[in-house]
């Protein structure tokens, strides 16, 4: 893929996955497409790390999964946010905002 795409920062993938699922349950492919779309193709999700992350988040209880039909009527595994996941998302979002604010400050002062 193109050079104008940025790899994700360590640890931000979780945040993006949780955020994407806030709107509606989605399967892995859908999540990766949506992140790419919403970031206007700036962020690309490394699929090799997407699925381990999904499985990890599920095991941690922030997401639950079930099998359902995709838009083109194929069996796909859909993930949805659990209440614990929603709380986690709030924490992660706050955390991200604090960090990005701090980085912005540094970038502005130097």
């Amino acid at each position: 893929m193109g050079k104008d795409k940025t790899d994700l920062l360590q640890g931000t993938l979780d945040l993006l996955i949780l955020k994407t699922l806030l709107a509606a349950p989605q399967h892995g492919w859908g999540i990766s497409q949506r992140i790419q779309q919403v970031s206007r193709d700036v962020l690309s999700v490394n699929q090799g790390s997407l699925y381990p992350a999904l499985h990890r988040l599920e095991r941690q209880g922030w997401m639950a999964s079930e099998w359902g039909n995709s838009e083109n009527n194929r069996q796909a595994k859909f993930y949805r946010l659990t209440p614990a996941g929603r709380r986690r998302l709030a924490e992660e979002t706050e955390n991200w905002e604090r960090v990005s604010l701090a980085i912005n400050r540094i970038l502005q002062t130097v």
């Binding site: 492919w29 990766s32 699929q47 090799g48 095991r59 995709s70 194929r74 796909a76 595994k77």
Partner: protein, 882 residues
Amino acid sequence: MIRPFWTALGTAFGRRRAERQLDAELRFHLEQAVEQNLRQGMSGEEASREALRSFGGLELTKEECRDAWGVRILDALRQDLRFGLRNLARNPGYAVLAAATLALGIGANTAIFSLVYGVLLRPLPFAAGHRLAVLRQQAPLAGVSSMGFSCHEIDDYRRQGQSFERLVEQHSMVFILLGRAEPERVRTSVVSADFFDFLGVKPLAGRVFLSGEDQPGAEAVLVLSHAYWQRSHGGDLSVVGRTFRMNNRPHRVVGILPALPQFPDENDVYMPVSACPFRSNPDFIANRNARMMRVFGRLKPESTLETARAELATIASRLERQYPDSYPAHRGYRLQLARLDEELTLRARPTLLILLGSAGLVLLIACANVANLALARLVRRDREMAIRTALGAGRGRLARQLLTESTLLALAGGALGLLLAHACLPALVTFTSRFTNRIQQIHIDGAVLLFTLAVSIATGLLFGCLPALGPRRDVAVGIREAQGAGTTAPARQRLRAALVVCQVAISFLVLAGAGLLGRSVVKLHQVDPGFNPDRVLTMTISPNWSKINDSQRFRSFFQTALERLNSMPGVAAAAVAFKFPLDQSVRSNRNFQIEGQAATDGGPRPVADFRAVSPGYFQVLQIRLVRGRLFSGQDHERAPAVALVNQTMARRWWDQRDPIGRRVSLNSGRTWLTIVGVVGDVRQYGLEQAPVDELYLPFAQSPAGVNVLVRTASDPLAMARQLREALYQLDAESPISDLRTLEQVRSAALAPPRLTALLFALFAGLTLLITVTGLTGLISLTASQRTNEIGIRMALGASPTAVIRMLVGQALLLVLAGLALGVAAAVALSRLLSRLLFGVEPTDPLTFLGVALGMLALAAVSCAIPARRATAIDPLIALRSG
């Protein structure tokens, strides 16, 4: 080789399903990517290559997903197991000691549990055994706990009771069976025709009784018990259909029972009630007060014991109102209903439960000991643990490693324990047979194996958890300390001390129990039974009642027998009696009336045991004459009626006054007996039971008796054959049975408490052994850890004695703490043991003190040895070793 096993296990845990789902999930993703690429105009091949490429290594992704699932548990378990096995193999001494200790504990529990399960828990081997119940008519005010039922009463309860599917009756008789080489005395169970349907027992051969075979006029038929068939007929099936003579009429054998425990007692043959000459006597049937039969009922599935009890009580009070003469208020009638299975194990229950409890304590001690060993090893493994922590092993993982090892050990201990239990079981079954007839059902079977497995795993977890609970430690500190081996974590040391304290406490508990039981046995042996059992033979004669069928013939039969026995050389004295001491029979008591003392209306009337004895009885048993005279030949049937009383009775009713010359009546004043003497008390029902009021009647005046007692000049058993032959010459159709010496009777009466005490002593010995090894282990470890300090102390001039005193003193402090805890526990639990004790308080201070001092002394000696070894080391070396 191991791989397929783990794959199988993995599948069992749903791993294969998870793999399938993961494949499906990733395949979906790839297909979507390919479709998108195709839409963007790539060629088919290009599209799929690009999709795979953007994924960046499918297998790696899968592997990372698997990691995220945590399905590595099984792999980790396999690692733990392999590591654990290697570790144990490297320390064979520890492994063997631990497994052996646990084997003792688990073996004791398995063995005792198989008794408890077979006797107390296993359902009766009869159809719907839990619905079988025993009915009992009691007269509590007259001291009668079970008096049987009469024919009328059985009819009444059968007709009026709605809670039971059926009620059956049974009574035991001894009859003489003729038609074989010798007359045979057969224990006969006389039963309702539907008795075997009631139990749900199917015959081994032939048939059981048909309905109607218990009606008057039916042909007399017999069913043989399995044991009797084997013993007397050599297991010959052709005996079915044969006819034997019993009670002057032919009896045809129709069937043979299977090898089931018999109920309610062991019998040789069964006959329907119509075949029993006593039970089928019209006078007997008509008499509401002729109570002889036992009654059992099968509850309907929908009725409970409680509803049945309430119903029976209603019927009983109705009968009481209807027939006031048969149920005089002063005897206080009552109907009791109990579950049959509980009834059969009443005597075994407390002993078995106490034994199970003490076996549990042995296991607890074994656990504590092995936990202590494991802790000691942990000290040496600190370094390993610290390094593994540093390499990233989680605390949970380390704990799991320890648990895996302990469970492995416990399972090995369990397997050994099972072998141990198997080896001990025959002896234990013999022991249990003294309390219950349910021993046929004691086996090591599935339930027992399951119990052993559960106990082993629980044991492994228990003693594995203790060391794993150790304090959380800083990695760096761990490594440093482990290298120095200077001090150990104080928390862990405290844990070990606490374990030793608990062990001492439990040991004290079991030892004190053994001590108390032992003292009870000694006390029982010291009890003066009131008679001298030395060189006395007893035997039961059952006169062939079809010839000897009135009291005159009965009396002369026995008088001739006595004359013949007395004339034999080597016979010091002979007597006939209704009962003999400690003969395990039921009480035969009667109400009596004292002349001049009006019976108080409604109040309980005097009750006494009565015994018909020939004049020689007191001479044979050497029962003391306190005052007055004994019976003599002058007290014949036409002479004035006389009686003797025992001291207890004399004290109760005449207190300071002289009972001699007073008169009592056993038939509400129709005839009177004059008391001519007072004799010493005899323990009739058991050495542990206080003497009851006894009234002796001369055999000539009340001819009731089946037991012949002979005092011999030399070894009584040597004369047995001779005596038997002499009696058979008198009448060949009156069989002789139950020939024993009174010494045998006495030691049979003493056997249950003696064996219980012995088993308890065995358990106590085990706990003591385990505790002492634990204690010495602790001391030698402490000493080796403090080598450095000991070196310094000795270099500074401490004498070896002082050092030994210090080490031993510290150990004894723990022992004292344990003893204090043990005394408290023993006092708290004293109620449990009190039922098994005789003549000793469950908190007997002498026993407690003795056990405590003994344990202290043993602890001091066993600790001094490792302490001495510690001081034997050269101070210089000791210092350097730090």
